[in-house]
Symmetry: C2
Amino acid sequence: MVSSVGEVSPQRMHFSTPLPLRSGASLRDYELVYETYGQLNADRSNAVLVCHALNASHHLAGTYAGQDRSEGWWDNLIGPGKPLDTERFFVIGINNPGSCFGSTGPMHPNPDTGRIYGADFPVVTVQDWVDAQARVLDALGITQLAAVLGGSLGGMQALDWSLRYPDRLRHCIAIATAPCLSAQNIAFNEVARRAIITDPDFHGGHFYEHGVMPKRGLRVARMIGHITYLSDDVMEQKFGRELRAAELGYSTQDIEFQIESYLRHQGDKFSEYFDANTYLLITRALDYFDPAKAFGGDLSRTFRSARCDYLLASFSTDWRFSPARSREIVKALLDNKLNVSYAEIDAPHGHDAFLLEDPRYHGVLRAYFNRIAHALPGA
Amino acid sequence: MVSSVGEVSPQRMHFSTPLPLRSGASLRDYELVYETYGQLNADRSNAVLVCHALNASHHLAGTYAGQDRSEGWWDNLIGPGKPLDTERFFVIGINNPGSCFGSTGPMHPNPDTGRIYGADFPVVTVQDWVDAQARVLDALGITQLAAVLGGSLGGMQALDWSLRYPDRLRHCIAIATAPCLSAQNIAFNEVARRAIITDPDFHGGHFYEHGVMPKRGLRVARMIGHITYLSDDVMEQKFGRELRAAELGYSTQDIEFQIESYLRHQGDKFSEYFDANTYLLITRALDYFDPAKAFGGDLSRTFRSARCDYLLASFSTDWRFSPARSREIVKALLDNKLNVSYAEIDAPHGHDAFLLEDPRYHGVLRAYFNRIAHALPGA
């Protein structure tokens, strides 16, 4: 029987010990929001950490009481009887610092000044997030994770776990990810950032005190992002050149094509809830992720410290993080004679495929988690 | 001997008869700027019209007296001894109405009101441009062109010539083009337009009277465009993850990567000279181009009216108008038993390749123009 984890509640954890960051700065007096699903077993060996990407949070699965359409962002994957089965695993979602979904971020007061952080929120990296997550696990008494799972930017966190905390996980599952951004990936991020930063309502990142939000910039940023998440094919299939009205209106400013209407709607929605400084921070964390940099760009040497088993998956039409980028990682893992499973899934949905319920994709994850579960005590 | 056409001067032509437009509106009392190179032969059979794309003009080749770096945008192709040899052909470049390079456009006064057109400049289509070009040729006494040549949006104009004025050209040369935009192409145009339109300095398209220009929007629009003109590969090769400074600065707003610096520079330059309303008009003309629409989307039926010979060329790394889009056209031409040559050129530069001097690409054009020249009287 497949079902939902049901109603869930986020929890908060306060940290008074400052978190040292890669930039040299540190984050002090911060809170992280997290959710857990399922039960931690007696020897604390069945915990799975799920890392989130840009527009997501600790709220992986289930719903919030009294809130319609409040399903977690990976609810199709996580729950009783689902591929990541909460009847066997204790699943943890942690909202990263700098986010706008509950953990300490740019919209909160800087304890040093009492003023809202805004653009003064320290730059955070994938490594900083992983360090922050490790502290939550320390507090929960979890020494070793059964697995760390993530897609896209979440996959980068999973990879970083396996590199810097090799004894703290047995499996790393990295979906639709890359060992670092390409120049084109950085370019798209930079255009999105410029749209936000040059919005007059951004006020150098201190817009909170002006009572405005740089929504124009956020809309454009989201529209750009959205194009890169979808494949050319799926856009063509869903929208093609379909018009909104029966006839052309001959206007440069009004909507003519359905794809325009869709993108504007996505941009509008996003600009209502997402924080502009968070957008900058998260895209920068993506730009900076490059574990091979310390090894002269040699990805094989980079993974010499790794010990866990790996599952990687990529999607044929993903042009943001194409299968070729996953294959780079697979090769580096094989060079180190690590156990690696790799699935290249023929799916039409582009990068977004990692969030969707494709039977082959979910079949791969189900089989892999079954394998992990069978090695648990009492299985 | 290969040389430049040398110093050239643009010419102007005034039209008092209104130009009827696809939108139902018309353009009255307008001027078009054009340049010509070489000599028209006695029977007026050696004229080649070159159509321009988004960021280009009538100034195809040669330089302007006293102006450094004023070479025409296709100077590598057009000149004495060059692939389009001005010792054999009379080459014509016409600036399309709505442009910001001299022909009547949104920055000029509307004769109906005396006020600067701004956003009231009528929406122009590829067909309207071709009609406007045909009037210039009428005035020059050119009944039939040896060829119409264009790349990208210019290629769409060349195709339209062959469809709607089948008796007025013997050859259609369409490079790096498409039979219509895909949903993804329209999506990128729409984001660029939103960046411009939502710039507070746009003032609904009437920014001229406010003494400002929506430079923020134009910068973002150009950055987006630029990413789509280059291939992922060439960006990786030219910039990769190269940093501007020796060390990371950990900043979301400052430049870290060279690709960011390059894109910002391209955006800044563009925003200094390009007109925001022209950007909207030209991207819309791209969106609207769809000759097969009147034939229920059947491209083969669309080309039933065509009579000329065709050369098409595409570039392997062009993801804006990929080789597959050119092949759609080639197939439709073959379905109509037309003479068609097609070259798919393995070039790393993406869409921009059509402007660059690649020996294989220029070799194809040289051979094709030689063939046209051999059929001219006295050849």
